[in-house]
Symmetry: C2
Subunit: 206 residues, 2 copies
């Protein structure tokens, strides 16, 4: 419950393997900040969401939509002025990256944000295999994180439960894809809803 | 083949029962005209496209996506400044409207455009059942079309073949949903791609 004068933060749900999630991750904090808002980031596992909701990744749907989507990822990135390269492995498993995020967040939310940006960019700029625990540990170590502590944390039941809980929370919140942003109860799906998100923040609803 | 100096027209594929198709129909001609371009409208039957590509309407997918989509149709309309009311019957069959469009287009392409706007607005502003031949004939008659001639045309094998050919052409062109716009070979899916369409027209590609 928000008992102070400051407005509630936005909720930003995404999977680290979601291209449109990456595109929005590069913009959402700055847009929110222009209207005095913070953003709570929630990496989730879209595979579990898709299983629960009976959906599938864009590139594993029909061939026409898959071909269009691959083309649109890169074009939308150029349109938004964001570096982008289609990863050679796609989609890929992101539980290690998401678990690392939540473990870091418990200690230092600003460091967790840096880690999230570095992880998205590792995948979508440098084509690194972020499904691998080693890559995740390398990214974190590069930000000053103790590698052994994080390696142990990735195996802990607590962090596995934390991620599972976040995915359950997402499904309960009506999340069916990535990215999904909620502002004061109003949901916006897709990086292409950024202009609507901005207008909503500016006007308080339209 | 374009043998003159004037640039090629845009192709605009849509189903008359597509809400995002309606939203784009209210904007696409004016945007194209700003860059000296015309638009070729192609009403198609999304049901056949979905069957061919293994897809489904947004509101018949999972409940979370269906609920979001219904909300987003109306919000996107407000965002774009377009009158919108969710039809009580949705989605609905549009072969009569599409056949009427092509028959009118053979005689007077400007009248066909007026008919297309009137048909979309009949569904999305006045909640009229455009699946009914009577409604389609009423809309056309109101634009000065001879009712009996159009009624006969709607039953003709020629017009049924024409619509079937357009749907086949759409599938061959990679259309997998509505609206789908093609500019000089570049495809844009969704009313939310209008800013990219405009930038593409302005810059010749980005």
């Amino acid at each position: 419950m928000n008992t102070t004068e400051s407005p509630a933060p936005l909720d930003f749900w995404f999977d680290f393997s979601s291209p449109y999630g990456y595109l929005l991750s590069e913009k959402i904090d700055a847009v929110a900040a222009r209207y005095g808002r913070k953003v709570r980031w929630h990496p989730i596992l879209l595979g579990i969401v898709f299983k629960a909701t009976g959906s599938a990744p864009l590139t594993l749907q029909n061939p026409a939509k898959a071909a269009y989507s691959l083309h649109d990822f890169a074009r939308s990135a150029r349109f938004m002025g964001i570096p982008f390269r289609q990863p050679s492995q796609f989609p890929l498993a992101t539980q290690n990256a998401a678990r690392a995020y939540y473990w870091l967040h418990d200690q230092d939310c600003s460091l967790a944000r840096q880690f999230a940006h570095a992880t998205f960019r590792a995948l979508y700029v440098d084509d690194r295999d972020i499904s691998s625990p080693d890559t995740v540990l390398n990214i974190a170590e590069n930000l000053g994180v103790n590698r052994a502590s994080l390696a142990a944390a990735l195996q802990s039941p607590e962090i596995k439960t934390k991620l599972k809980d976040e995915v359950d929370l997402a499904i309960q919140a009506g999340v069916f894809g990535s990215p999904h942003v909620v502002i004061d109860g109003e949901a916006f799906f897709g990086a292409d809803r950024l202009p609507q998100i901005e207008k909503w923040l500016e006007t308080g609803g339209f």
